[in-house]
């Protein structure tokens, strides 16, 4: 009975995995198709990859996506960290207020945040484009960085930064030499979340960008009304990159751990 149940749960989990991975495999498979069809495989070819790399709008979309994610990550990580440190030394009322306001975009549907920003930019007569998109990305990334850094800050011993100041550190030195080294891990985690949020964003980008500026999501959205195998090639490349990055991120610490264990055993 127990064994039978074990097999059933394995089958169930396998079925869910099939559901999750079949479309991804399907997209990658048909990115090598020699014809335009997405249902009949007529032969192996790399022509959709060639077409993709030759397509200027796709290359631009990739460039805008990466550039926007890099800028938004750097700015939101710095601002979010500094704000979180500042808030930790503020009164509770102010801390609560900032937390509540930061929660607003997370509790609201993305489309509401997006049109709010769009109305805001256009009422100020700011021409929407890459700059407004980056500003919007910074705005929604900062709360995630703070969410990652704040709990770690709470665990710190406040006496350490006080001691640094007493011993003649400027506040800047106290922050960079005492506080930041202790919360480094949570800052990196916050930056990673910010980067992936920005990289994948569609709804907010769509409403805050201007003519001629698309990121990958917007490009996919506006070009899939008809069958378009270059999008398969683009999707496949995203799948390759993410798989490689995730394997590195997950396997490297595992190998390091094994190496450490081995060193301990050798010693």
């Amino acid at each position: 009975m127990k064994q039978k149940r074990g097999i059933l749960s394995k089958i169930y989990f396998a079925l869910i995995m099939v559901f999750f991975y079949v479309p991804i495999v399907y997209v990658v498979f048909f990115s090598f198709n020699s014809s335009k069809s997405l249902s009949k495989f007529t032969g192996f070819s790399l022509k959709w990859y060639q077409a993709m790399f030759a397509n200027r709008s796709i290359m631009e979309a990739i460039w805008y996506t990466v550039l926007c994610a890099v800028i938004a990550t750097i700015v939101s990580t710095i601002v979010g960290t500094i704000t979180a440190i500042g808030l930790s030394k503020n009164r509770k009322v102010i801390r609560e207020l900032v937390t509540q306001v930061n929660n607003l975009p997370m509790l609201n549907p993305e489309i509401v945040t997006a049109i709010g920003l769009m109305l805001f930019f256009t009422s100020l007569r700011i021409q929407t484009g890459f700059t407004t998109m980056v500003l919007a990305h910074i705005a929604f990334c900062i709360p995630y960085v703070m969410l990652s850094v704040t709990p770690r800050l709470r665990q710190l011993d406040p006496n350490l930064s006080d001691a640094a100041l007493d011993l003649g550190c400027t506040p800047w030195q106290a922050m960079t030499k005492v506080i930041i080294p202790q919360i480094k891990g949570s800052i990196v985690a916050g930056a990673l979340v910010a980067f992936s949020m920005s990289f994948d964003d569609f709804v907010i980008s769509m409403f805050t960008t201007g003519p001629g500026v698309s990121n990958i999501s917007i490009y996919v959205y506006s070009n899939v009304k008809r069958v378009n195998p270059t999008i398969n090639a683009l999707s496949a490349i995203i799948v390759y990159v993410i798989t490689i990055v995730l394997i590195i991120v997950n396997v490297v610490p595992m190998l390091r751990e094994r190496k450490q264990k081995k060193e301990v055993l050798d010693a």
């Binding site: 997209v27 440190i85 900032v98 489309i111 769009m118 992936s196 990958i216 995730l246």
Partner: protein, 260 residues
């Protein structure tokens, strides 16, 4: 620590400008007539009246809510057993299973939705079923991970104790495991229902444009028609309904906890 607290002030200004003001802009646009300028506002409730007087808009709203509720229920029904199976695996396999479920989530949502298009076209699935598959596909991982997290936090001694005290497997599940995993189900509901109500690219990509949800209406009024006042009114109505449903969900969660 006077030196540090000033560091939070620039963000308070930024936050007011970039989060609070845009929200107020939506309310302002929703309650004014089209073509107003910053100097001359004309307040009106006509945008809201228009929404409820026409039969199309409430129908679309109702359809979106129904779709989001059904999607959430399907995600619980499929996701709960999956999370349960995961929580019973060996620790190494658990880490692997979490990785397997997280991996597709790293792939851009648009790309993931597009991935279904070829299969669904090939299967000639109807537009409604296609939209449901797209929704469940996009949001199921959130549900599984939330339930899994709360299941894996349950102290295994409680299960053993229930068994020792004479409960059979079914009783243990109903009286111990299920109630303790409810917080995970509740946060799963939040993570699925909220984006499902307002989703507009899933119906657009997979429903072939024939399946209109409330998010599509908002998109159309902002991008195509340019009637931002009415578009803002629709968003406001949607945001209020979502807030109410979240509030009700949390109340139910609390009530369920007090029962125990």
């Amino acid at each position: 620590m006077k030196n540090f607290n000033k560091m939070a002030y620039p963000y308070i200004i930024w936050m007011t400008v970039m989060i609070v003001v845009p929200m107020l802009m939506i309310v302002l646009y929703a309650c004014t007539v089209q073509g107003n300028s910053v100097l001359t506002f004309q307040f009106t409730l006509e945008n809201f009246a228009r929404f409820f007087s026409d039969s199309i808009f409430p129908t679309v709203l109702w359809r979106s809510l129904k779709m989001a509720v059904i999607t959430t229920v399907i995600c619980i029904l499929i996701g709960y057993p999956c999370a349960y199976v995961m929580a019973k695996m060996k620790p190494d396999s658990q880490a692997m299973a979490v990785l397997l479920i997280t991996l597709p989530m790293w792939i851009n949502m648009l790309v993931r939705t597009y991935a279904w298009k070829g299969i669904l076209d090939w299967l000639q699935a109807g537009s409604e079923i296609s939209v449901y598959i797209g929704m469940v596909y996009n949001f199921l991982p959130f549900m599984i991970l939330q339930i899994y997290t709360s299941l894996s936090k349950i102290d295994p001694n409680l299960i053993i104790a229930a068994g020792d005290l004479g409960a059979n497997d079914r009783q243990t599940f109903m009286k111990v495991t299920l109630p303790l995993s409810l917080p995970g189900v509740i946060s799963g509901i939040t993570l699925v229902f909220l984006p499902a109500v307002s989703s507009f690219f899933i119906p657009k990509l997979l429903g072939g444009g024939q399946y209109v949800l409330i998010g599509n209406l908002i998109e159309d009024y902002f991008i195509k028609t340019g009637d931002w006042n009415f578009g803002s009114a629709i968003s406001l109505i949607m945001a209020i309904i979502i807030l109410i449903s979240m509030y009700v969900t949390r109340k139910l969660d609390k009530a369920a906890k007090e029962d125990d």
